[in-house]
Subunit: 432 residues, 4 copies
């Protein structure tokens, strides 16, 4: 049943030169961004794995490189890998490619060292450039290359969230960078943006095809009946979240999902992940800082986002409500390229603010397949579909997402208890 | 935020005599059915808790009784409970009522013994009958009484699934009853029943209100766009599931959700929960029996149902597809009142078979709130809503469900790895 | 290497009639004592297993019976067991006999029920009586019979400690019996009994041989140099232990073994197992009672006994110091036959008090083999030797030990964290 | 009860100049040896913690330095630490000094990095040299300095055993060094060296006092009656251990302690820790090598050593038998200074061979206090005594022990399941 071809096999025509040039430029840019993000890290920093959900930065750097080697370069029958042993080390979860190193043990790998991994990156970059220059690429291979770039961008965000957790786990609380905090702008008052019941088309045309890139889990486009509702004009702020705390939010069982309440008690949750107990300071990639009350709250689990919405007499939006609202907007906002790497107060202005960037927004939609969903063929079919179980959809990207990575149809997903992502919430309401 | 009034407070008028009479009759019948189901159990049988998810039969008998005492009788300010200490022992999960005995420790309670619990049932039955005779019941109280009857029916099914697991855990494999196996009828060939895209109304009017009972999670009715699709005419049979096994279903990572594959390997799953390794025999409430190849497969986790559907080139239906198809059908089928307590081959005939009874059908719908969902007020609001997290909806009832308990809008729910329920699957397909 | 003969094979002579008669009488008495101890228990009480270390009373009753069936009756080639399936259920840890039911799952076995187990006891008693009447017993078989009686006595004590834990685990705190508390006698002041360095013979001649019964771990007798030391005239009392608590004993890391301190913190130990937090009341087999300050403290782990001794500027005695002191004393004291089942204040009088009965005394001797130690042959060699790892020796018996079971050379053993036995301590000191 | 003075306070006289000079030389040598041992490690290698029992090399380097800073330099009231935060990071288990970083999280500390730790070592070395030059050292301080040197030597051995485990955990199996394997010498045939019963003096005079250094757990000297026995002339070889394996040693329950057998089955042990499944190759600090059949077997748990001795019809020696035999021998053998870091075949020759070096020898003596044992005063009293619980004594040192560190009275200790030390066994027998 499981075929082992590493990707879509249906397009064998030689690729258009323009596409090759565009992808070559994008390849250079994406690869350079990974190098930039990892530049502040010592070899030792790059090896820390502070919890099972996180991976060492070095692993992110190697795994994204392995992806190009295994799935693009490795399509040549005679390809000789830089080191055959690394297939085992740097495979994440592709069962059809072969066995893999256990995820919780990624932090034990001192060798290859960071210098070797950087050298590995340079070698693969050179081989990829040579391949791109050769003109010997059919469109199937270009598709995988393009997928690999989006894949690397996802890991760029994880590299930041994982190193944040690693540094927070160190009693010395080192900072990743020393950007000055933004002068706190006042956040605009929350307004409600209403919409009547309608049938709208959700999702993105399947890729690869004639159009732009999207992951398989965003397709196919399909019609959904979206009921009448109202969306908040901006995400919930730190000030609003502190009001939830001050009102006993973390002590009121009635506000919580059952498993969330169990977790609150077992782990003594009293505030978002990186806050101090006084709720005045938070750990950021720039070290411990005062909490900006006007900025969107983040590092919430789904449990906390859901409880806060219930406390506010509202609810989380569905992913359809969110996508319908985002469909007409420019994909603009604060992304990782800005360098702040921390959410900031919403701009003032009419309409919906901060739909993209700053913080991922938990939705009330479980992460399941769209009607007619088909995973990619071969090993890359393991990319998304097999995780459609006990996770929630998040939308919109964050201050740690690379600019250009997200879009209105983009579906991120995490389980209910994940707190180490830059995830917050936007309120929604049923409307009569 | 959490109010502690134990139920809907909006209806204070004295209830119509007809309703009282109807509920009194139903109360007698439901309570008698629990007694009947527990009759084959010794005091020791009724105390076994063979895993955390299960509860002892004695606990089911006491907890359902406590529900009437606490929420119906206990509404009188001066009510004196049979034993105040039992509030702690027999509360399941109502945080707003007070602290409770830890679920995994329910099997340690030798006292009160089964005779005391049966006496407790008799006392509460008598008090309830007196209350019903008194005429002193407003409609709010009758509502809770009615809810309590549906609640007890749910526990009747759990009592059966839990004692099945308990007996299977005993190396001596005792039988609950000794009903002879049904002569195996041939199962009808699988046909596909197709339906075009349509907008249909899903769900049940909120209860209590003017209409019939339903749980809060079934409401409100709302419009859903259901895409074109096909449904299998009957559930997957044991013969078909054995073909999945014989084809290497449990050894093919590509068929499984990621967490499901991890579980298959960690626990060495090779077949449904109660089958022997040769896949010839299965443990039933009547002890070990030959597997009837024509009967629907059951005791599957979601992971197994999902993998089998993928292997078959199909998928699980959504709960909307299922409900739309069930809406026009009589709620008829094999339920626990029939006494077989094991699924049997589908009847022949046109149209959809076995939509109700025999086996619960896993759907591909995550268990989340309908648009406009409102939990019941007070403690009873903890009944359903707080479990809307990491579970899947099952539909249709099983051979262990009491007749009269399910309906087309009924939403059962369990997490992905639950195998001890009578749960199988019906295939579905997208249609062009 | 592992032979499978179930016991000593070296003595095949027919046994002396006097020994047969003595053992028959003892068999009747010991078996009757088990029945007496289990009489207050309902079928449900007898099934509770409140922690992995404990076993259900029903299991104790069955296992001790199985021991006679398997190792005495079963020596006949043609023996037909009462139920062959019970070999699996009621084997405790005899690997050479075959596989066994997992210990933590003993509480799940509702069938055979208590009535069946009592009937099993009656059947085996009858078969044993017939065998004893037949005269067809060689001395090897009589040896195993004798061992089986001591074995059953050990389980009589465990039956009591296990049911005490089970009842304490029930929020209703049922009592096993309702014996009135003893009028508290004043405890004698603690005196020190000193002894000069000497070489003494420790241990008991190997059994079976020419002498009286002892377990294999008590032999062979061997010479030990015991240094000069002083022993306290009586065990530490509840009053003295409360002084240790009041002085911050449970909060002073410096008093504790490292693993003990970890446990104190992880489980928030603040007092002996069955005390309430006010240190005024304790749970006994007669329910909750006021603590008798003059009685010996019990239900201590080794960690607590060791810390208390260190706090007192003393230490625990070695098992050699203890045995040397006990060697000359009558084996007299409060045992389970007295019916109190709880330790009481020491009698006044000269010399060492309460060396036997009331509370087991933790010694500072790890449980290891004596020089020249040889386990019994065959399966019964698994009785003691394979547990010589990470346990400490306790001496003297308790109020839950059957009279006649212990002796000066008797070595009981438990790991450092065991608290549910009637275990206390006697202080010792080096002397100049 | 717990005083906080960091060491013996009873000797305030200014130290003799000769002792100062000797300790200064020894300080330089020991510190240099740590640098030498860690030289082959990259910053990333030095951070790996591959299991809870092990620590990163960087941590060993820092902790041993902190010991001098905290306990020697820190005795000055006005002392300013290099970094006050490191007290928390580099304290191992001294409860009386304050809270400490959790042991299992030592591998998460990327900062301070290895360069900083090396700089820390240099700074403390300089301060220590200045202190030694100043002449301002009373004997109490010199005592702690001396203790600190022995302490660092212990960590030198752990650094090697921990990095060996770390490298073995890496699928790439890097080598620590590339020393060529020793040409395998034939091992001498095993002879038995017998000794009659005698009373001998065991242990070492308490330090600090008038004599040479020893740990507190080696004192006081005391008389012990050692029974007649025989000791093997050399440790068990790999060839002999392979015969144990080939004879089904790992499949015979009867050979094992109960908890050992459970472990064998749960973890599928089939050979010593670092052997391959074919029992031909073993992982060494020089990478994978052929097993030298003549060399002593090592990396055994106590369970394995004990089972092998039982299989051989022998037993492990007591620590008294071992010490009595070692007392008259030169402390000579293969130690870590030789550079091989792997055990080699025993030299031929009369008498007992390899009593010191090559492999630690498990004894059958539980690690408990000698009669009259007194821990050091203050925090340093936590060094040994609090671990006297559920561990066994090992004697003699290994190929990873620094020369000059062990002596005949030296007591090493590990729990029954520890396998990552260079631990083997020597057989012993009772003699008539």
């Amino acid at each position: 049943m499981a075929t082992h071809a590493p990707g879509p096999a249906d397009s064998s025509s030689v690729a258009a030169p323009d596409r090759v040039a565009a992808l070559a430029a994008r390849f250079a840019a994406v690869r350079a961004h990974s190098a930039l993000l990892s530049a502040p890290l010592s070899a030792e920093d790059a090896m820390v794995q502070s919890m099972e959900d996180a991976s060492p930065a070095k692993w992110h750097l190697a795994h994204t490189t392995w992806f190009f080697e295994r799935f693009v370069l490795g399509r040549d029958a005679g390809y000789r890998p830089v080191d055959p042993a690394w297939d085992y080390l740097f495979n994440s979860y592709y069962q059809s490619v072969g066995p893999m190193h256990a995820r919780p043990r990624r932090g034990l790998i001192s060798r290859p060292d960071l210098a070797q991994v950087r050298d590995y990156r340079a070698q693969i970059d050179e081989r990829m450039r040579a391949l791109l220059r050769s003109g010997d690429l059919d469109s199937a291979r270009l598709d995988i290359l393009e997928l690999g770039l989006h894949h690397e961008q996802q890991h760029q965000e994880l590299l930041l969230t994982d190193i944040k957790h690693a540094f927070w786990s160190n009693p010395l609380a080192p900072a990743y960078h020393d950007v000055a905090p933004d002068p706190a702008g006042a956040s605009a008052p929350l307004r409600w943006v209403t919409r009547d019941e309608s049938i709208c088309t959700i999702g993105h045309p399947a890729w690869p095809g004639t159009g732009a890139f999207a992951y398989d889990n965003e397709s196919p486009p399909h019609r959904v009946l979206v009921p009448a509702h109202a969306l908040a004009s901006r995400p919930v702020t730190n000030a609003e979240y502190r009001a939830f705390i001050d009102d006993g939010g973390y002590r009121s069982a009635a506000l919580w999902l059952s498993a969330g309440w169990t977790r609150v008690q077992a782990e003594d949750w009293r505030h978002p992940l990186y806050w101090d107990d006084a709720c005045d300071r938070e750990f950021t990639l720039a070290g411990w800082r005062d909490i900006d009350l006007h900025a969107p709250v983040c590092h919430l689990s789904y449990y906390e986002a859901d409880a806060c919405a219930r406390w506010a007499g509202a609810r989380l939006p569905t992913e359809f409500e969110w996508e319908q609202a985002a469909a007409g907007l420019a994909v603009d906002g604060r992304f990782s390229d800005d360098g702040a790497l921390h959410p900031r107060a919403a701009p003032t202005g009419a309409g919906l603010q901060q739909m993209f960037g700053d913080v991922w927004e938990w939705t009330s939609s479980a992460y399941t397949a769209y009607p007619g969903y088909r995973p990619l063929a071969g090993a890359l079919g393991e990319y998304n579909g097999k995780f459609m179980d006990a996770q929630w959809v998040l939308r919109g990207g964050s201050c740690a997402t690379p600019r250009g990575h997200v879009r209105a149809t983009y579906r991120n997903f995490f389980p209910s208890d994940a707190r180490w992502q830059f995830a917050g919430l936007r309120l929604a309401k049923d409307s009569a």
